[in-house]
């Protein structure tokens, strides 16, 4: 009996393996391996040195690059899952056509994100206390719950999409799972906004803004990554049946950026009028302070203006859309970094003699990521490239028609 199951299992796994020679995966797999090796070295260094030594975060700015990169990855993942949910559960055919890639991509990007939070948290093993001694009031508890559940749902979806001999019941289950992935993804991401919004000390994060913004920018980023991945996989020449999907994703992305602009406008303007509060300081750190390069070049130019211009002028050009996606995903890093750091730059105590607080002349706390933080971030990309392009190489990610 056992042997039989094993054989059955083996044959099932074996049946999944294909070798997609056409997909230009190897360069990315090699890139992934290199990044994993370098990042792996960084990970070991961090454990040898200790987080405190290895990272550039300080008492005044305890959350830095790795929280940003965590947010970067997991929010893209839930954004992708959102798009998948639209396809699966709400019958958006254009997205359903790429649902296999959606599920695989969402899962792997989520895993890449988890590498970041595991490296950020000083005592990941003690996370067992989130089960033994949970604090239901704490947004980080819910963050763990939601992202954990999201992973389970995505795993279930993976099972369903790779299951041979799919039945109608499987499709229904997939629809339910897709809906749940969308729902839990939105909850997880908006809760991430709440993780920041619940910080009594940090005015910049208070209110509904970041919960909304993170969800919107996440869906936008999901669309961007999907377009980019498809363009890579098909070497720029997509099958005709997928083109409408890409165009639709392009519109979704453009719409997302539009909503982001709308949100930016009012957040920035309203924060300027909170002078002399900390939210004012935070907005000034972006407009005219230590984060101004990040903000104007990264957030505004790369994540808003250029991609939007490309999308508007794309007129069905997948190349332009994918270029927009690529630039957006670079810009999005600054968006996430600024989101995490800007709220913490106003120190909780003035940088006066004896206070222990060190600030610049404008009164901002300092933060610049250490080399090891950058390398751990690269590790996240390494995991992503290695796993995703291996999947492309060795699994069939083409979605067969449902009907």
């Amino acid at each position: 009996m056992a042997a039989h199951t094993e054989n059955h299992g083996k044959s099932f796994l074996k049946s999944l393996i294909v070798n997609n020679k056409d997909i230009p995966a190897m360069p990315f797999i090699i890139l992934g391996l290199i990044l994993c090796a370098v990042g792996g070295f960084a990970v070991i260094s961090v454990f040898v040195k200790g987080h405190h030594e290895a990272y550039g975060v300080t008492r005044q700015v305890p959350w830095g690059l790795l929280i940003s990169s965590y947010a970067y990855f997991v929010i893209i993942s839930t954004g992708i899952a959102f798009i998948g949910g639209l396809g699966h559960a709400f019958g958006y055919e254009k997205y359903a056509k790429i649902s296999k890639r959606i599920v695989v991509l969402a899962t792997i990007v989520l895993l890449a994100g988890f590498t970041q939070i595991l490296m950020e948290i000083g005592n990941p093993l003690r996370m067992v206390y989130m089960m033994i001694s949970p604090n239901f009031k704490a947004p980080i508890f819910w963050m763990g719950m939601f992202y954990g559940i999201e992973l389970v749902i995505l795993a279930f979806e993976l099972y369903l999409i790779f299951k041979p001999n799919q039945t109608e019941a499987d499709h229904k289950l997939a629809a339910v799972a897709g809906f749940l992935a969308l729902l839990v993804g939105v909850l997880a991401t908006s809760n991430l906004g709440y993780v920041f919004g619940s910080l009594n000390a940090r005015e910049w994060y208070h209110g509904i803004y970041f919960s909304t913004f993170l969800v919107v920018s996440g869906v936008t980023a999901g669309a961007a990554l999907l377009i980019l991945v498809h363009t890579i996989v098909y070497k720029g020449s997509l099958p005709a049946e997928l083109k409408p999907s890409m165009v639709s994703l392009g519109k979704l992305m453009g719409g997302g950026i539009g909503v982001m602009m709308f949100l930016y406008l009012w957040k920035m303007l309203s924060s300027i009028f909170t002078e002399p509060g900390d939210a004012y300081m935070s907005v000034m750190s972006l407009i005219n302070g230590p984060l101004s390069f990040n903000f104007w070049i990264g957030e505004m130019l790369l994540a808003v203006i250029l991609p939007l211009a490309l999308i508007v002028t794309a007129k069905g050009s997948i190349k332009k859309l994918s270029m927009a996606g690529f630039i957006f995903l670079i810009g999005l890093f600054f968006t996430r970094f600024d989101f995490v750091v800007a709220g913490q730059l106003p120190p909780m105590r003035k940088g006066l003699a004896g206070s222990g607080v060190i600030t610049d002349v404008a009164g901002f706390a300092f933060y610049s990521p250490s080399m090891l933080e950058w390398l751990v971030y690269m590790f996240g990309f390494g995991v992503f490239f290695l796993l995703y392009f291996s999947a492309e190489k060795f699994l069939n990610l083409e979605t067969e028609s449902h009907h």
Binding site: H52, R59, N135, A138, N200, A201, R349, K350
Partner: protein
């Protein structure tokens, strides 16, 4: 049931900025020298005026042991908790070092204790409670800036000071209701 409510009443005008409290704290709580590693601090507030009409004040401070604790509410594992006397404490074994409490604290009272591998902060020297001893910062102070006591006991020196003087708390707008009261 009469519970105790520990707090500190500070008369910052007596502060010499001599740093006896900060050094005492470091030894009592085994804090090694290091830029971010301190539980308590004495800030030289901005000099007011121009020569020769100037004034200078100091502000000793530490964890405010808030009644409404921003740190405890964001702790996912309840590593930060309150003692029966309202002292905000940390169960180091439960701390996952997510640092949410650090970002949540409006007083920048927390730091990462690399030796304990956990977040740390002022505990009112809770380890001294069984012997009924005052916190190290209170005990060592040359001018007795800080008076520690049970704010629920009207006969305690701290309660009397609180009743007799106009006092203020730091960052009242954060609605944290600190247990550190500064005499005006």
């Amino acid at each position: 049931m009469a519970t105790k409510k520990f707090g500190i009443v500070l008369d910052a005008k007596k502060c010499l900025n001599c740093k006896a409290c900060t050094v005492a704290c470091k030894f009592e709580n085994t804090i090694h020298p290091g830029e971010d590693d301190y539980r308590i601090w004495v800030t030289e507030l901005e000099l007011k005026g121009t020569y020769p009409n100037i004034s200078q004040e100091y502000q000793p401070s530490q964890c405010q042991h808030c009644e409404n604790t921003p740190c405890a509410s964001v702790c996912p594992t309840k590593a930060t908790y309150k003692s029966p006397e309202g002292v905000v404490l940390i169960d180091y074994d439960k701390c996952i070092l997510c640092k949410a409490c650090m970002t949540a604290c409006p007083y920048d009272a927390r730091y990462e204790n690399v030796h304990l591998h956990a977040i740390d902060k002022c505990t009112f020297c809770y380890q001294r409670q069984p012997e009924g001893r005052e916190p190290a910062c209170v005990e060592t102070c040359p001018t007795r800036v800080r008076v520690f006591g049970d704010l629920n006991d009207p006969e305690s020196e701290a309660s009397k000071l609180l009743a007799r003087n106009h006092t203020y708390q730091l960052k009242p707008e954060r609605n944290t209701r600190p247990r550190l009261h500064y005499i005006k």
